[in-house]
Structures are given as structure tokens and as C-alpha cells.
């Protein structure tokens, strides 16, 4: 029993160490690599950006717009009792921008993109493709992990902004369609209470979430062991661990923003 617990502790510690060393070698290749004429291929960054960003647009749009609709209806249910239905607009906008849009977008992208990273790199690992890269003197972190990391780092905040807009649009549909709020008034109330800091705290979160998703996906992929089963395990683990870490990071960041009055 004790040896079992000890084993788990050691393995967890090794994994944390592994993720951090992957993070530092990604940073090394981004900032130090170009000085040594070892550029990351722009082509593969753009390819990954299309995969991460453009192909996620539809799912992020739908998740956010329905969240906006639900949020508007649920808050109207309570605000109606106080005759403050108009504040649905600001409630929807602020809770989306500060909290729901970054988190939900990150969760959707972790499920769609993080798992794809783990599965793709894991398959490459078990079919000796990673070893082939190493023999060709091509660093797998530079060649595979850095483009994915950069693509996610730039695209997730963009998707979050899309989530903000489509969520607010969802709230707008409910507010003007069913709650009979004047469209102009709805938009005015939205922007009256929505401050710039609400948006950039949300975006700060999404930069952190992007790093979590990319690191966990790539780490699980590059450390896959044992055939098709191993790829499956890596994929599942990448999603589960990213989900937990995203929620945990969200909690910590919200606390930091709250207590520092940002």
C-alpha cells in the first residue's frame, strides 16, 4: 500500500517535472532558437493555427451562443421578480467575458485540439516517427511542439473573443425577443457596465489556458508508451488533466483578480 502511494507520488512528481522541462525547451526554441538559425517553420505554425482556430470557430460559436441564451433566461427568471430585467444585459456580458467564455472555450478546445495533439504525437511516437526525427537531427520539440504551442497561444484568445461576442448575441436574442427589451437599450446597458478590465482579465485567463492545453497535449503525446492502447490512454489523460488544470487555474486566477481588485 505504502509502496503503491509512493509510486504514484514519484510518478506525479516526474510528470510535473517533465511538463516544466517541456515548457522550458519550448521557450528555448521560441526565443533562443532563432539566434542559432534554427527557426520554427512558419508554414507549420500557420497550418496548426488553421486547425486550432479556424476549425474550432463553429463549435465555439454554438457553445457560446447557447450559453448566452441560457444565461439570459436564467437571470431573467430571478431579475423579473425584482423588476430589474434590463440588468440581464450587463449580467450576461460581464459573466461571459470574465468567466464563462474563457473557460468554456478552453474546455471545448481542450477536448477538440488537446486530445488531437496527444493522439497525433502519440501515434508518431509509437510508430517510431519521433525517433526518426531525432536520428535526422531534427529536435521533436522544435519541429512538433513549438508550432502547436504558438498556434494555440495565439488562437485561443481569438476564439475567446468570438465566444464573448456570440454569447452576448445569444443574450441579446433572448432580451429583445422574449423579454421585450429595446435593442438599443440592451446594447447600451451591456456596454455601460462592461469595462475593459473585464475583457482583458478574461483574455489573460485564456492565454494561461492555452499554455496548459498545449503543454499537456504535447507532453502526453511525446511520452506515449505501448502501441494503440497507449495512444488511447494518452489522449484520455490529456483531456482529463487539461480539464482539471483549467478549472484549477481559473480558480487561482479569479482569486488573484478578485483580491487585487482588478
Amino acid at each position: 500500500m505504502i509502496s503503491y502511494i509512493g509510486k504514484i507520488v514519484i510518478e506525479t512528481f516526474q510528470a510535473i517535472l517533465g511538463v516544466f522541462s517541456l515548457f522550458f525547451s519550448i521557450l528555448y526554441w521560441i526565443f533562443w532558437g532563432p539566434l542559432k538559425k534554427k527557426m520554427v517553420r512558419r508554414q507549420s505554425i500557420f497550418y496548426q493555427m488553421v486547425f486550432v482556430g479556424l476549425r474550432s470557430v463553429l463549435i465555439v460559436f454554438f457553445v457560446a451562443i447557447f450559453t448566452g441564451i441560457v444565461l439570459a433566461m436564467q437571470s431573467a427568471y430571478q431579475l423579473e421578480k425584482m423588476g430589474a430585467v434590463i440588468y440581464v444585459a450587463s449580467l450576461v456580458a460581464i459573466s461571459l467575458c470574465r468567466e464563462l467564455s474563457p473557460v468554456l472555450t478552453a474546455l471545448v478546445v481542450a477536448g477538440r485540439v488537446g486530445s488531437a495533439f496527444a493522439a497525433e504525437l502519440g501515434t508518431m511516437k509509437v510508430s517510431e516517427q519521433i525517433e526518426a526525427l531525432e536520428i535526422m537531427a531534427i529536435n521533436p520539440v522544435r519541429f512538433l511542439a513549438v508550432p502547436r504551442f504558438l498556434a494555440l497561444f495565439f488562437m485561443l484568445p481569438c476564439l475567446t473573443i468570438l465566444g464573448n461576442i456570440s454569447g452576448i448575441f445569444g443574450g441579446f436574442l433572448v432580451g429583445t425577443g422574449s423579454l421585450n427589451i429595446n435593442p438599443d437599450l440592451y446594447m447600451q446597458t451591456t456596454f455601460k457596465y462592461l469595462e475593459l478590465k473585464d475583457i482583458y482579465t478574461g483574455l489573460t485567463k485564456s492565454f494561461v489556458f492555452a499554455m496548459i492545453i498545449a503543454l499537456i497535449g504535447c507532453y502526453e503525446g511525446l511520452n506515449t508508451k505501448g502501441g494503440a492502447e497507449g495512444v488511447g490512454r494518452a489522449t484520455t489523460r490529456s483531456v482529463v488533466i487539461s480539464f482539471i488544470l483549467i478549472i484549477l487555474a481559473d480558480c487561482i486566477l479569479t482569486a488573484i483578480f478578485y483580491f487585487s481588485k482588478v
Partner: protein, 271 residues
């Protein structure tokens, strides 16, 4: 042929008392070996004998626990990854399952080491890729993806990629396994041609006996992590060593005993 034994020859790869452990088991046991420049050196042995591990030690994919490995006089066991990459620019390797990148076309796969490790212009890379592909008889398949071509063709693309940088040393991990005898023969011929025409040092891991006798200048037999004999193909054929006799004739019983440590069938059936 350059296998003239009287001329003192340059040593391409040298293993000195190399040992490797996996989870407490000694997989490679105190191996010392010299491989000369320009020769085709075959490492043969049963599955699990440690021959693939030996190959991966030479490529630097894994590092030994004891001993030294010298590539052209440079010890690769204690150098940094960057220095190892410099050494590896002289390497090519053909993998057992080809290990082509699925996401790239045949052409892009062969071009990859050239794009990443040289400063050649794209037009020149294109010409080199065409040359390498015609070397393995695969002109016209440039735009295909690895999943669209047969296993034998993938092996040939892998071979074209392995020699793309005109390496000094090429490693072959079971180059003919999983191929039909004719395609296997084609791969053998390509290996032989490359080593003779381009003076490449070839290290081939295989347990395919026709290959061994077709291509080898020298053969090493590995058993339980040890090299039990190094000889010419003729010497191996006429060897008195009971292990080698059993291996080259493919006999189920002999000194290499798979049944020894298991329970006898009679015991299982209760007879």
C-alpha cells in the same frame, strides 16, 4: 570490393565494453566491437537477443550504462544533445516500419532532412529529392502520401530519406521484415548498391538469412546481449558454433532453448 583485409582500415564505429540495463536486466552485456568504414556489417540474432538495442545504442537513441561508443573516434556517450545532432547529420536510418511522417508526402518526407539540416535552395532540394527517388525506383510517386503506397514502397521511400544527406553511416533495422521475398531482394540489392557505389558504412540488423548472405561483408551473431561470433558470411556458414548452426538452419531445439524455462507441455496436461 573494398573488403581487402590486408589494408589497415579506418574504424567507423567502435563499441568498448558497452553494457545496458533495463529494469535491472542486463540487455547488452559487455559488448566490444569495431565496424570499419565502407563495410556492410550485419548483426543477426533471435528476437529479444538485444540486436535492436545494440543498433539504438550506436545511433545515440539510448545511452549505455557502462562503456564507450566511438563514432569516427568521437565518444557519443557523454556529449550534449546538440553535439549528438552534429554527429547525427552523418547518419541515415531505415526503420523497421519505415517511420515516414504521415502528414507529409513522399517528396516532403525525403526533402525533410535536406530542408532542416542544410541551407540549400528549394530548387536544388527538389532535384536531389528526384535523384534519390529514382535511385530507389520511385519517380512519379512524389505527391503520394505514405498511407497511399504499399509497405515495400514505403521502405524504399525510407531508404531514399535515409540517404538524402549523403550520410557516411546508414543503419538498417530489419530492412526486409514484413516484405515479400522479391521486394526483400530488391531492398537487399539497394543496400548493397548504396554501400558499394556511395561507399557508405552499413549496419544491418536482421534475422533474414538470405539477406545476411547476400549483403554482408561481416556478420555478428548476438545472443542474450552478448556477441558470440564475428565472422565473414562463409565463416558463419561453416561455423561449428552450435548456436549459429541452430540459428542459420532455423531449428526449434538446440542450445538456444525457448522451452527450457517454461513448464513442459506434459506437465500442463498432467501427463
Amino acid at each position: 570490393m573494398i573488403s581487402n583485409q590486408s589494408i589497415p582500415r579506418e574504424i567507423a564505429i567502435s563499441l568498448k565494453n558497452v553494457s545496458k540495463y533495463f529494469q535491472g536486466n542486463k540487455i547488452i552485456d559487455n559488448v566490444s566491437l569495431d565496424i570499419f568504414s565502407g563495410e556492410t556489417f550485419v548483426i543477426m540474432g533471435c528476437s529479444g537477443s538485444g540486436k535492436s538495442t545494440l543498433l539504438r545504442l550506436m545511433t545515440g537513441a539510448i545511452r549505455p550504462d557502462e562503456g564507450r561508443i566511438l563514432i569516427k573516434g568521437k565518444d557519443i556517450t557523454k556529449i550534449s544533445l546538440e553535439e549528438l545532432d552534429e554527429v547525427r547529420k552523418n547518419f541515415g536510418m531505415l526503420f523497421q516500419y519505415s517511420a515516414l511522417l504521415d502528414s507529409l508526402t513522399v517528396e516532403e518526407n525525403v526533402a525533410l532532412p535536406l530542408k532542416e539540416n542544410t541551407k540549400l535552395a528549394d530548387e536544388i532540394i527538389k532535384i536531389i529529392v528526384k535523384m534519390k527517388l529514382s535511385l530507389v525506383g520511385l519517380r512519379g510517386f512524389e505527391k503520394h502520401y505514405p498511407s497511399q503506397i504499399s509497405g515495400g514502397m514505403r521502405k524504399r521511400v525510407g531508404l531514399a530519406r535515409a540517404v538524402a544527406l549523403d550520410p557516411d553511416i546508414v543503419f538498417y533495422d530489419e530492412p526486409t521484415s514484413g516484405l515479400d521475398p522479391v521486394v526483400g531482394g530488391v531492398i537487399d540489392k539497394l543496400i548493397k548498391d548504396l554501400s558499394e557505389k556511395l561507399l557508405i558504412t552499413s549496419i544491418v540488423v536482421t534475422h533474414n538469412m538470405p539477406s545476411v548472405f547476400n549483403i554482408a561483408d561481416r556478420v555478428a551473431m548476438v545472443h542474450k546481449g552478448r556477441i558470440i561470433e564475428v565472422n565473414t558470411p562463409e565463416g558463419i556458414k561453416n561455423s561449428d558454433n552450435p548456436y549459429i548452426k541452430q540459428f542459420i538452419n532455423g531449428l526449434p531445439f538446440g542450445p538456444i532453448d525457448f522451452f527450457k524455462e517454461d513448464i513442459a507441455i506434459e506437465e500442463i496436461l498432467g501427463l
